[in-house]
Amino acid sequence: MYLENIPFLSILIFLPVLGSFFISMIDKNVSPMNTRYVGLWVTGTVFVMTLFLALYMPCQAGFHFMDRFVITQKLGLEYLVGIDGLSLPFIVMTAFIFPLAILASWDKEIKNLKFFVSLLLILETLVLGSFCSLNLLVFYIFFESVLVPIYFLTSMHSLNNKLDVAFKNVLYTLFGSIFLLVSILKIFEVTGTFSFIDVVKFNFSYAVEVFLFLGFLISFIIKVPIIPFHTWLPNMHGDSSTPISMVVSGAAFKLSIYGILRFVLFLFPQALQEFAPWLQGACLVSFLYAAFVAYDQKYVRRLLSYLSISYLSFSLAGIFSLNSMAMVGGIFHIFVHSLLFPAAFYITGLLHMRLNTDRIKFYGGIGQVMPQFSILLFLICLALVGIPGSSSFIGNFLIMGSLSKLHISQGVVSILGFFFYGVSLFWLYRRIVFGVITEAMVRGLKDLNMREKSIAGFFIFLIFIVGLVPSFPLNFSKFFSKEVTALLKKKGEVK
């Protein structure tokens, strides 16, 4: 195939960073809108390229569009990228979120716009690079480097106590990275290679596998995050601006989930079977706790971030159940999360932009002055809670059904969790939309403009279209679940 003969994937990965160089060369006196246009064109082009990838990707299993060159022979380190059925949906979702994040910042007054857009583009390169890396150390480098643009972005455009939040994120990320780096070095010591393709064929001894499994897992669950490693995320979302929350929830922190799916599940099947019930239990507790805590939040973004933790914990509970249907549901849920939560952060961010506050108590009675906004928010809330027809319904159905089948207690916890989840969400909706207007500034609010409506509408359209025609993410989820189940079967035990 023609695309296989050119370094298409590398061009895709590094195009945003080239765009950021170009932006840095734009003259100071040129209108700031041009920077936005360049950012939009670059991210838009990357998105179109990912669609090409999806269209032309061969149906066979294995990695495609591979590029490689040796970085250092001393370490046996090579730049090795390629995609398969697991990474492709993540890449498409990442490329989808970035242009929308740039559009979300369109009207926003941004002090150092060139720097902001450049950072977004660098971040896109790093996230795409992580999803495509087939070398463990190169993955680590991309994964860890994400910290730098996120640190700058959260510090630049955060709202309240911005510096501490960015600092906390650095601290957590660096702490998590210890385990990952140590595990990667251990893999190198044992196998003599960093290449994922070679490592996956290797059979580790049980003790080594448990060591590596825990190293990888701790590093990734800190960044997902699940309870009790979650404290940095609500602060971060609470203090970040809309585009950053969209990018972070939709793309950057999917890296950890991807890390779990790609490395933890494939490389350490023995340890996975040993620890899976514990992890599943921890994820269910995290799901229940985060949904419960969300109810009491006073700030919209903090509440949404708790719901996001809850949602992802539920997805992971499905994956760690090692039941093929629950795994399909869990993976599907993760893909859908990349649509739902950026949409939620975007639409609530529109209110924040108008009122300059994120506190729920100032929002009462919005429905009277912004009816269109209220309808769109309602549709997003329905999708978040998983109404039939919406994209998260399929995931919820598959996970909840499978968990209930495995053990009734798991079904009960799932139902209870969803009860709290739904209550928190609709309690938020009620407090924003209904009630008496108490704040004078709310009275003067204008409803959404055409661009805002288009972006929110586009999100909602996709959310429901994926719910009604779920074949694209569902096929990939099934494919992945089949591969993991086959791998576990090979090891002798599968539920």
């Binding site: 970085i71 001393k74 480098i141 510096l163 702490f175 210890i178 780096l181 140590v182």
Partner: protein, 490 residues
């Protein structure tokens, strides 16, 4: 002049330049009242000629180096390692003489360093470092140790209106006297046992001792530890670090990169001593170095968290990075030395780049002393701030910058010591990196911008230093090959 004496040319060359600067300006000063450091000390053309000749000289020695080691004057060894070390010392040390770059000259003037002796003294110290890396007996090593540090004491006395520098210099001089006397005593003990001060004879003696478990091993061991102590003190490793904070704080910003160069020569000297002379005691010294490394790293990492003054902060991070180097050496393998030397070269390079940019900044024509003085610098000078941030990220070992790769090589050499140590070291490296992030956020995240002026054009060749740190991974194989070639004879 015999063929062997050719390898002494770099020292002669430095000495010649040093005397040229000194004598010519002595005459000039006697004729005029203008004793300040000015371009007349050494014209730009002369400076670049000096720089190019030095690089060419050391480069050609490297290229035409014979297979075996060359011993000149019975006490100066020339090997690929010593030539490489001299090259690094020359290349990274020369900019800080204050004669080439306008920026550094201006910075020196602002620090009231107006003495024309300054560059000559630094050159003397560099000659000391040259001798230190190629010393092949304890007499030369002793001379080198003194020659390296004595000019630095004198420089600290030359600062006008900086009494703390003089005070710290006197304290350090006192402590240095004690450790040097220990060095002499240690060398005397070894001489008593071996009957020679030559490294090769001592190495042979140690080899015989280790096979026969013969008499005298205790004295040799005590002597060795006294020598080691001198190096640990000079390098400010834990627990001999008490002087470092005061000396850094009271000295000039421009002295910090230069002191990193001096430390490089000490690390090379120490590596030679450990691997060429006392390798038979490897089981003993690797444990000592390991604990010294861990302690220095821990103290440096934790101490750096509480520093608000830039030089104090760098004194602690210096200790942290030194701890990493010791851990590399403690592997007891040539790969560990290679990682340690690479680590220190990159550290020196990064610190040099950072302080070059930092020295460009001033408030009311005063040098900046505290981290918080640069708040919001990125608003006024985004390019300069970006370069500083890249340098700091590299020092914080964040991938893909050069500092990360160096840390990785050290970790790799440490794996044999046990995984728990790797994890502990990584934890320290996280703590150490936090304060670098603090400086970055001061540079970037402020609504206001400090009233900072840039004293000279910062867009010089130093701009390439942070860029080199970013793209280091492309060249690391070549650099490692060079280092490995240098260490072949170790």
């Amino acid at each position: 002049m015999s063929f062997k004496a050719l390898f002494f040319l770099p020292e002669l060359f430095l000495f010649f330049m040093c005397m040229k600067i000194f004598v010519v300006n002595l005459f000039r000063v006697s004729k005029t009242s203008d004793a300040i450091l000015s371009p007349a000390v050494l014209s730009r053309l002369e400076y670049y000629a000096f720089f190019s000749i030095g690089v060419l000289l050391l480069g050609s020695l490297w290229v035409h180096y014979p297979v075996s080691k060359v011993l000149s004057f019975d006490g100066l060894l020339s090997s690929k390692l010593t030539i490489m070390a001299k090259f690094v010392i020359f290349f990274f040390g020369l900019p800080w003489l204050g004669v080439g770059s306008k920026t550094i000259r201006r910075a020196l003037q602002r620090e009231n360093m107006r003495s024309f002796e300054y560059p000559s003294l630094l050159l003397f110290s560099m000659i000391g470092s040259f001798l230190l890396v190629s010393a092949h007996n304890f007499s030369i090593l002793f001379v080198a140790l003194i020659l390296q540090i004595l000019p630095i004491f004198i420089i600290s006395l030359l600062y006008e209106e900086k009494t703390s520098a003089t005070a710290w210099s006197a304290r350090y001089f006192f402590l240095e006297g004690i450790t040097l006397s220990l060095f002499v005593f240690g060398a005397a003990l070894i001489y008593g046992a071996v009957g020679d001060l030559d490294f090769k004879s001592i190495a042979l003696f140690c080899q015989t001792l280790s096979h026969s478990k013969g008499e005298g091993s205790l004295w040799i061991l005590i002597g060795f530890f006294m020598l080691l102590l001198t190096f640990l003190f000079r390098l400010a490793a834990f627990p001999f670090h008490i002087w470092i904070k005061g000396v850094y704080e009271s000295s000039s910003n421009l002295m910090i990169p230069f002191m990193a160069i001096l430390s490089f020569s000490l690390i090379v000297g120490l590596s030679r001593l450990l691997f060429e002379v006392f390798y038979d005691f490897v089981g003993t010294w690797k444990v000592v170095l390991f604990y010294v490394g861990i302690s220095s790293g821990a103290l440096g990492a934790i101490g750096s968290l509480f520093q608000s003054r830039i030089r104090c902060f760098f004194s602690y991070t210096y200790m942290f990075h030194l701890g990493m180097v010791f851990l590399g050496l403690s592997s007891g393998m040539v790969e560990g030395v290679q990682s340690s030397l690479l680590y220190w070269i990159i550290y020196t390079f990064s610190v040099g780049a950072f302080f070059f940019f930092w020295s460009n900044l001033s408030i009311n024509d005063q040098m900046l002393e505290r981290v918080d003085q640069v708040y919001g610098l990125s608003i006024k000078y985004p390019g300069l701030s970006l370069l500083m941030a890249i340098t700091l990220l590299s020092l914080a070992s964040i991938p893909p910058f050069a500092g990360f790769w160096c840390k990785l090589y050290i970790l790799k050499s440490l794996i044999l010591n046990g995984w728990i140590y790797v994890a502990v070291l990584l934890s320290f490296s996280i703590i150490a990196s936090l304060q670098y992030f603090h400086i970055i956020r001061t540079l970037y995240f402020s609504d206001r911008c400090a009233e900072i002026d840039i004293i000279s054009d910062w867009k010089t060749s130093w701009v390439f230093a942070p860029i080199a740190l970013v793209f280091f991974f492309f060249f690391q194989d070549q650099i490692l090959a060079l280092l490995s070639d240098s260490l072949r004879g170790l």
